[in-house]
Amino acid sequence: MKLLKTLTAIAVTTLASGFAQAQDKPAELKIGITTFTSGAASVFGVPAKAAAELLIEEMNAKGGIGGVKVAATYIDEGIGGDKLLSEYRRLVQEQGVRTMLSAISSGNCNIVAPVAEDLKVLNVMWDCGTEKVLEEKRYKYVVRTQANATTEMVATVLYLLKTKPNFSTIAVVNQDYAWGRDSWEIFLNTLKALKPDVKVVAEMFPKLGASDFSTEISRLQALRPDVVLNTSWGGDLDTFVRQAAQRGLFTQGATMVLPLAESSLERLGATLPEGVIVGGRGDHYFLHPETKDEPAHKDFVAKFRAKTGSYPIYPTYHMAQALVGLKTGYESAIKANGGKWPSSEQVAEAMRKMEFKAYGRTVTMREDGQGLEAQLLGTTKRVAQYPFAVMDKMMLVPADLVTTPVGQKSPAWVKTIKADLLNSDRLKTYDFK
């Protein structure tokens, strides 16, 4: 009995001292960042990591977060879910990291979110799109500083219907994995709600990482649908666009909708023709119609180009949002805590009640941890200033119009979308200037 008492006393003391320690300003704020540095998704992960290094360095030069310098450790998401999780736990439990930025892959977000909750670690989901993670469970420690798949897909449908109201057939060529399947489901349900007479003529799901789409392209040429949707990314998207261009699919009159092609524009160079609908999973673009002349944004584009040789693409902007969001969250939590260093819980709470702005429009965070980020879509155009296609006829869709309300679930909500949404005066359009 005495032993038990002693043990309890020790436990209480340790707990209390641990708690007190959390309130003291640490020597540095350790954060863990998971990103793809191997595998096909490193087309996103590597530029995002470069952006993180750049931005953290800058942040630290200006005093860090609340006067504390940020020190980041990176984990490769390419090692697979199980290994990622053990690396994640190792960082938290052995190195005392209490703030994680994770992840790019929706699969990985689904894996880390419950673990973060369990370990009481603040987890900022910085790039993954799956709407399910925050809709199916309420988390205390998990937030997302950008839009989700529903916001992205509903905005894409809106843009398509605004620019091409009259079409009757659609075909889809998406990657055969969670994102390819889920994005099509949301897109189709939204489209059916707004335009019930649309006919789906082909649903094709080639393998993730497929190197050959010639059969899919032949079939599209034989079917001649009015609209072709392809939500793929990276090498898959590049390959599809190239093979489609080589075989004249773009000149057959179908409207191509490529919601992630902002991240491929520079690489595709002259291959991507005019008149293709492209998006970038949010409102961030180095030629963002509202923020391209803001000094901070121009500075970021210049520094990123100097560091990597390329223009920033959406994952780098998502990284910027996560870091600015984290800083804003910490600083507002410090304020709320009377100037004292906050616990992860306090930061997580503050991050649900804040607004922050990186290089796009202001992002508003919701009580369920979901960020409301506007969506930017456009139609490709060739101009003399750039050796690759730029976005023209751009439209900014405010996120609150196209995001499932708190407490509701996307599959049911998108079916209730009404056609008068298309007439909203909050859909702003911009031409390339």
């Binding site: 191997s38 087309v43 010639s214 079939r219």
Partner: protein, 301 residues
């Protein structure tokens, strides 16, 4: 499905099978002679593609004649294939010939990972492609569907030539017969005076060049990204296993089966497209565990 769609599926299937066959041919050739399943073969595919793209970019950058684009693909394949295969053979493969198959698999897998990392260091992670060759050769229209000549004519031609050439080489030349002899029994061949070391190196070089050629010929239509070697490795292994390890004719037939079934699947049942190679492999191996073209193996005591 009408006749014209049938024809379309047939053409797509053949051109896909052509590339698959080239890579699988290299893999099966090396296995035939060394009895090693060379996982690093996937890297040869990737390196061949990346190197061909580099040459293609070089041609564009230095303003050389675009006519050089097509020969450059073959040059890239031979240079990188022979070079890497030679390094692999002298540094690794010849030292593990007598080892346990599991160990051989692990060693070549390790080599694959090393090569994959080196490839990332050299070419980075952004997708790489150079497609001038395809544009030059132009397109042709079949039943209202546009095809590239490159894909419809060039790829199958190269595959058929590689198949016939290799058959002739193995059956009709002294060196080729030595390779066949080593395939049958290494020790007996050595006893008969065949220089097995040289024959082995030659096979690996040819096999490596074929793998790299698959990559080089894919590079004008496919974006090369990290991980592409692993994809091709798995697929070409499915071809080789279906055809029978070490069987050239088997690899050709299996590649055709997989290519055609896959393209018909895209038209008829897109859902199963991804599964097709493996369904075929399982189906064949259930009936013929040694693969399509297996020969009766003499029992060694």
């Amino acid at each position: 499905m009408n006749a014209s769609l049938f024809a379309l599926a047939l053409m797509d299937g053949v051109s896909y099978a052509a590339l698959l066959f080239l890579v699988a041919l290299g893999l099966t050739l090396i296995f035939g002679v060394m009895r090693i399943l060379n996982i690093a073969h996937g890297s040869l595919y990737a390196w061949g593609g990346y190197f061909a793209a580099t040459l293609g970019m070089g041609i564009a950058k230095f303003g050389l004649s675009p006519m050089l684009g097509l020969p450059a693909l073959f040059v890239a394949a031979i240079v990188i294939g022979v070079f890497l295969a030679t390094v692999l053979e002298f540094a690794l493969l010849r030292h593990i010939l007598d080892k346990d198959p599991i160990l051989q698999l692990l060693v070549t897998f390790a080599a694959f990972m090393v090569l994959e990392d080196l490839q990332r260091m050299i070419w980075g992670v952004q997708p790489v492609f150079v497609s001038d060759v395809v544009t030059q050769l132009g397109t042709l229209s079949v039943a209202g569907v546009t095809y590239t000549r490159y894909q419809l004519l060039l790829l199958p031609t190269v595959a058929v030539l590689a198949f016939l050439g290799l058959r002739w080489f193995l059956g009709g030349t002294a060196l080729g017969r030595q390779i066949t002899a080593v395939t049958h029994h290494r020790e007996v061949a050595t006893a008969m005076g065949v220089n097995t070391g040289r024959v082995t190196w030659l096979t690996i070089a040819v096999g490596g060049a074929l793998g790299a050629l698959g990559g080089a010929l894919a590079s004008p239509t496919t974006s090369f990204t990290p991980g592409i070697g692993a994809e091709m490795m798995v697929l070409s292994f499915a071809v080789v296993a279906t055809g029978g390890l070490g069987q050239i004719g088997g690899a050709a037939l299996a590649a055709l089966m997989i290519g055609l079934t896959r393209s018909f699947a895209v038209y008829l049942m897109p859902e199963v497209e991804v599964l097709v190679p493996y369904l075929i492999m399982v189906g064949v191996l259930l009936v013929r565990p040694e693969g399509l073209f297996s020969t009766a193996a003499a029992r060694r005591i």
